[in-house]
Amino acid sequence: MSIREERKTEPVEEYYTWTGKARGWLLKHLPADKLLPQDQPSYVASWIYVFGMGAIVSLVFIVVSGVVLSLNGPAWYHVSDFGHFVNSVHLWSVELFFMTMVVHLWGKYWMAAWRGGRTLTWITGMGAFLVSIVAAFTGYLLQTNFDSQWIAFEGKDALNASGIGAWFNVANLGQIFGFHIVLLPLAVGAVVALHVILVRMHGVVPPIDAAETDAQLSGTDRTEATR
Protein backbone atom coordinates (compact mmCIF):
# COMPACT_ATOMS: atom_id res chain seq x y z
CA MET A 1 0.00 0.00 0.00
CA SER A 2 1.44 3.37 -0.96
CA ILE A 3 1.72 6.34 1.41
CA ARG A 4 -1.11 8.13 -0.43
CA GLU A 5 -3.44 5.16 -0.12
CA GLU A 6 -2.64 4.78 3.56
CA ARG A 7 -3.53 8.41 4.19
CA LYS A 8 -6.89 8.01 2.46
CA THR A 9 -7.87 5.20 4.80
CA GLU A 10 -7.04 7.16 7.97
CA PRO A 11 -10.05 8.41 9.98
CA VAL A 12 -10.77 12.11 9.44
CA GLU A 13 -9.89 14.02 12.61
CA GLU A 14 -12.03 17.00 13.56
CA TYR A 15 -10.09 20.16 14.40
CA TYR A 16 -11.78 22.73 16.69
CA THR A 17 -8.89 24.92 18.03
CA TRP A 18 -6.61 27.19 16.02
CA THR A 19 -3.60 25.00 16.79
CA GLY A 20 -5.52 21.91 15.73
CA LYS A 21 -6.80 23.64 12.59
CA ALA A 22 -3.26 24.80 11.79
CA ARG A 23 -2.00 21.24 12.18
CA GLY A 24 -4.81 19.96 9.99
CA TRP A 25 -4.05 22.55 7.31
CA LEU A 26 -0.32 21.74 7.40
CA LEU A 27 -0.89 17.97 7.31
CA LYS A 28 -3.22 18.42 4.35
CA HIS A 29 -1.04 20.79 2.33
CA LEU A 30 2.44 19.75 3.43
CA PRO A 31 2.46 16.06 4.39
CA ALA A 32 5.82 14.53 5.30
CA ASP A 33 6.26 12.80 1.93
CA LYS A 34 5.91 16.18 0.19
CA LEU A 35 8.15 18.04 2.67
CA LEU A 36 10.99 15.51 2.40
CA PRO A 37 10.31 13.42 -0.71
CA GLN A 38 12.21 10.23 -1.35
CA ASP A 39 12.45 10.88 -5.11
CA GLN A 40 11.95 13.66 -7.60
CA PRO A 41 10.07 13.30 -10.91
CA SER A 42 12.19 12.06 -13.82
CA TYR A 43 12.08 15.47 -15.57
CA VAL A 44 14.10 16.99 -12.69
CA ALA A 45 17.20 15.10 -13.95
CA SER A 46 18.58 18.14 -15.82
CA TRP A 47 21.26 20.69 -14.96
CA ILE A 48 18.72 23.52 -15.29
CA TYR A 49 17.10 22.32 -12.04
CA VAL A 50 20.27 22.66 -9.91
CA PHE A 51 20.51 26.46 -9.85
CA GLY A 52 17.85 27.02 -7.18
CA MET A 53 19.77 24.76 -4.80
CA GLY A 54 22.99 26.47 -5.97
CA ALA A 55 21.54 29.78 -4.78
CA ILE A 56 20.60 28.27 -1.41
CA VAL A 57 24.10 26.83 -0.92
CA SER A 58 25.58 30.24 -1.81
CA LEU A 59 23.23 31.84 0.74
CA VAL A 60 24.51 29.47 3.44
CA PHE A 61 28.12 30.50 2.61
CA ILE A 62 27.05 34.19 2.71
CA VAL A 63 25.44 33.83 6.14
CA VAL A 64 28.31 31.83 7.70
CA SER A 65 31.05 34.14 6.34
CA GLY A 66 28.92 37.17 7.30
CA VAL A 67 28.61 35.97 10.90
CA VAL A 68 32.41 35.59 11.09
CA LEU A 69 32.90 39.09 9.61
CA SER A 70 30.44 40.73 12.01
CA LEU A 71 31.91 38.99 15.06
CA ASN A 72 35.42 40.25 14.27
CA GLY A 73 34.64 43.65 12.74
CA PRO A 74 36.28 45.82 10.05
CA ALA A 75 39.40 46.39 12.14
CA TRP A 76 40.03 42.66 11.62
CA TYR A 77 38.84 41.99 8.09
CA HIS A 78 40.57 45.04 6.62
CA VAL A 79 44.03 44.24 7.98
CA SER A 80 44.54 40.49 8.52
CA ASP A 81 45.12 37.86 5.84
CA PHE A 82 42.40 35.58 7.20
CA GLY A 83 40.09 38.58 7.47
CA HIS A 84 40.73 39.40 3.79
CA PHE A 85 40.00 35.76 2.93
CA VAL A 86 36.66 35.64 4.81
CA ASN A 87 35.73 39.03 3.35
CA SER A 88 36.44 37.66 -0.14
CA VAL A 89 34.44 34.48 0.57
CA HIS A 90 31.53 36.73 1.56
CA LEU A 91 31.80 38.79 -1.66
CA TRP A 92 32.22 35.83 -4.03
CA SER A 93 29.40 33.91 -2.36
CA VAL A 94 27.19 36.91 -3.12
CA GLU A 95 28.39 36.90 -6.74
CA LEU A 96 27.56 33.18 -7.00
CA PHE A 97 24.24 33.70 -5.20
CA PHE A 98 23.11 36.30 -7.75
CA MET A 99 24.47 34.40 -10.76
CA THR A 100 22.77 31.12 -9.77
CA MET A 101 19.59 32.98 -8.82
CA VAL A 102 19.46 34.76 -12.20
CA VAL A 103 20.03 31.52 -14.17
CA HIS A 104 17.35 29.88 -11.95
CA LEU A 105 15.03 32.80 -12.82
CA TRP A 106 15.73 32.45 -16.57
CA GLY A 107 15.10 28.71 -16.44
CA LYS A 108 11.84 29.09 -14.52
CA TYR A 109 10.71 31.95 -16.79
CA TRP A 110 11.05 29.81 -19.93
CA MET A 111 9.33 26.89 -18.15
CA ALA A 112 6.44 29.26 -17.21
CA ALA A 113 6.94 27.91 -13.71
CA TRP A 114 3.96 29.84 -12.29
CA ARG A 115 1.64 27.23 -13.87
CA GLY A 116 -0.48 24.82 -11.81
CA GLY A 117 -1.26 27.03 -8.83
CA ARG A 118 2.36 28.09 -8.36
CA THR A 119 1.71 31.87 -8.53
CA LEU A 120 2.81 32.47 -4.93
CA THR A 121 5.97 30.41 -5.52
CA TRP A 122 6.85 32.73 -8.43
CA ILE A 123 6.00 35.86 -6.40
CA THR A 124 8.11 34.77 -3.40
CA GLY A 125 11.00 34.02 -5.78
CA MET A 126 10.79 37.53 -7.17
CA GLY A 127 10.50 38.84 -3.60
CA ALA A 128 13.68 36.98 -2.63
CA PHE A 129 15.46 38.54 -5.63
CA LEU A 130 14.36 42.09 -4.77
CA VAL A 131 15.15 41.83 -1.03
CA SER A 132 18.55 40.34 -1.93
CA ILE A 133 19.34 43.38 -4.07
CA VAL A 134 18.69 45.67 -1.07
CA ALA A 135 20.82 43.39 1.14
CA ALA A 136 23.67 43.46 -1.38
CA PHE A 137 23.39 47.26 -1.67
CA THR A 138 23.77 47.68 2.11
CA GLY A 139 26.74 45.31 1.95
CA TYR A 140 28.52 47.59 -0.51
CA LEU A 141 27.87 50.47 1.93
CA LEU A 142 29.65 48.55 4.71
CA GLN A 143 33.00 48.20 2.95
CA THR A 144 34.14 51.22 5.02
CA ASN A 145 36.29 52.55 2.20
CA PHE A 146 36.06 55.29 -0.44
CA ASP A 147 33.99 53.00 -2.65
CA SER A 148 31.26 52.65 0.00
CA GLN A 149 31.37 56.39 0.69
CA TRP A 150 30.91 57.08 -3.02
CA ILE A 151 28.01 54.61 -3.32
CA ALA A 152 26.31 56.06 -0.21
CA PHE A 153 26.48 59.63 -1.46
CA GLU A 154 25.33 58.63 -4.94
CA GLY A 155 22.46 56.62 -3.46
CA LYS A 156 21.24 59.07 -0.81
CA ASP A 157 19.71 61.48 -3.33
CA ALA A 158 17.65 58.74 -4.96
CA LEU A 159 16.48 57.44 -1.57
CA ASN A 160 15.66 60.97 -0.34
CA ALA A 161 13.75 61.66 -3.54
CA SER A 162 11.66 58.53 -2.95
CA GLY A 163 10.88 59.71 0.59
CA ILE A 164 12.53 56.91 2.59
CA GLY A 165 15.81 58.69 3.35
CA ALA A 166 14.60 59.70 6.83
CA TRP A 167 14.55 56.12 8.13
CA PHE A 168 16.90 54.46 5.65
CA ASN A 169 19.92 56.77 5.75
CA VAL A 170 22.71 55.26 3.66
CA ALA A 171 25.23 57.69 5.17
CA ASN A 172 24.48 56.31 8.67
CA LEU A 173 26.92 53.41 8.96
CA GLY A 174 25.48 52.06 12.23
CA GLN A 175 21.92 51.98 10.87
CA ILE A 176 22.98 50.31 7.63
CA PHE A 177 25.01 47.77 9.66
CA GLY A 178 21.83 46.86 11.57
CA PHE A 179 19.86 46.55 8.34
CA HIS A 180 22.57 44.44 6.71
CA ILE A 181 23.29 41.95 9.48
CA VAL A 182 19.85 41.65 11.15
CA LEU A 183 16.77 42.86 9.28
CA LEU A 184 17.68 42.05 5.67
CA PRO A 185 19.19 38.58 6.34
CA LEU A 186 16.03 37.71 8.31
CA ALA A 187 13.91 38.99 5.43
CA VAL A 188 15.91 37.09 2.78
CA GLY A 189 15.90 33.94 4.94
CA ALA A 190 12.14 34.13 5.57
CA VAL A 191 11.24 34.73 1.91
CA VAL A 192 13.59 31.98 0.69
CA ALA A 193 12.22 29.55 3.32
CA LEU A 194 8.64 30.34 2.25
CA HIS A 195 9.67 29.90 -1.40
CA VAL A 196 11.19 26.46 -0.72
CA ILE A 197 8.16 25.35 1.34
CA LEU A 198 5.86 26.42 -1.52
CA VAL A 199 8.00 24.44 -3.98
CA ARG A 200 7.64 21.41 -1.73
CA MET A 201 3.87 21.91 -1.40
CA HIS A 202 3.24 22.16 -5.14
CA GLY A 203 6.16 20.07 -6.40
CA VAL A 204 8.65 21.00 -9.12
CA VAL A 205 6.82 22.38 -12.15
CA PRO A 206 6.49 19.78 -14.94
CA PRO A 207 7.72 20.56 -18.47
CA ILE A 208 5.27 22.46 -20.65
CA ASP A 209 4.89 19.57 -23.12
CA ALA A 210 4.32 16.94 -20.40
CA ALA A 211 0.97 15.21 -20.89
CA GLU A 212 -1.45 15.21 -17.97
CA THR A 213 -1.60 11.45 -18.30
CA ASP A 214 2.12 11.03 -17.58
CA ALA A 215 2.55 8.60 -14.70
CA GLN A 216 5.03 10.92 -13.03
CA LEU A 217 2.42 13.68 -12.85
CA SER A 218 -0.64 11.69 -11.85
CA GLY A 219 1.22 9.93 -9.06
CA THR A 220 -0.39 6.60 -9.95
CA ASP A 221 2.97 4.95 -10.44
CA ARG A 222 5.43 7.08 -8.52
CA THR A 223 8.10 4.42 -8.14
CA GLU A 224 8.29 3.72 -11.84
CA ALA A 225 8.13 7.38 -12.80
CA THR A 226 10.98 8.51 -10.58
CA ARG A 227 13.50 5.91 -11.66
Binding site: A45, I48, V50, M99, V103, W106, G107, F146, T226
Partner: protein
Protein backbone atom coordinates in the same frame (compact mmCIF):
# COMPACT_ATOMS: atom_id res chain seq x y z
CA UNK B 1 51.19 38.97 -1.73
CA UNK B 2 51.79 37.89 -5.31
CA UNK B 3 53.02 40.86 -7.42
CA UNK B 4 50.20 40.37 -9.93
CA UNK B 5 47.55 40.41 -7.18
CA UNK B 6 49.05 43.50 -5.55
CA UNK B 7 49.16 45.17 -8.99
CA UNK B 8 45.42 44.62 -9.52
CA UNK B 9 44.63 45.46 -5.88
CA UNK B 10 46.37 48.82 -6.32
CA UNK B 11 44.29 49.71 -9.39
CA UNK B 12 42.07 52.27 -7.69
CA UNK B 13 40.15 52.98 -10.88
CA UNK B 14 36.50 52.72 -11.86
CA UNK B 15 37.36 49.76 -14.08
CA UNK B 16 37.35 49.19 -17.81
CA UNK B 17 34.29 50.44 -19.66
CA UNK B 18 33.20 49.27 -23.09
CA UNK B 19 31.07 51.55 -25.21
CA UNK B 20 28.90 50.75 -28.23
CA UNK B 21 27.26 54.01 -29.25
CA UNK B 22 24.83 55.01 -26.49
CA UNK B 23 25.32 51.64 -24.77
CA UNK B 24 28.06 51.44 -22.15
CA UNK B 25 28.98 48.59 -19.82
CA UNK B 26 31.75 47.82 -17.35
CA UNK B 27 33.89 44.85 -18.39
CA UNK B 28 33.32 43.03 -15.08
CA UNK B 29 29.54 43.29 -15.43
CA UNK B 30 29.72 42.11 -19.05
CA UNK B 31 31.80 39.06 -18.00
CA UNK B 32 29.24 38.15 -15.29
CA UNK B 33 26.36 38.39 -17.80
CA UNK B 34 28.24 36.29 -20.37
CA UNK B 35 29.08 33.64 -17.74
CA UNK B 36 25.39 33.45 -16.73
CA UNK B 37 24.33 32.99 -20.37
CA UNK B 38 27.01 30.30 -20.79
CA UNK B 39 25.80 28.48 -17.63
CA UNK B 40 22.20 28.64 -18.89
CA UNK B 41 23.08 27.19 -22.31
CA UNK B 42 25.34 24.49 -20.81
CA UNK B 43 22.60 23.52 -18.32
CA UNK B 44 20.21 22.94 -21.22
CA UNK B 45 22.53 20.80 -23.32
CA UNK B 46 24.99 19.01 -21.02
CA UNK B 47 23.81 15.51 -20.11
CA UNK B 48 22.82 15.08 -16.48
CA UNK B 49 24.62 12.20 -14.70
CA UNK B 50 22.31 9.34 -13.82
CA UNK B 51 21.70 8.85 -10.12
CA UNK B 52 22.33 5.76 -8.06
CA UNK B 53 20.20 2.76 -8.87
CA UNK B 54 17.05 2.59 -6.81
CA UNK B 55 15.39 -0.63 -5.61
Amino acid sequence: MHPLISYFAAQDSPGIYLGFGAFQIQLGNLIVILVMILLFVLALFLPFPSGKKRP
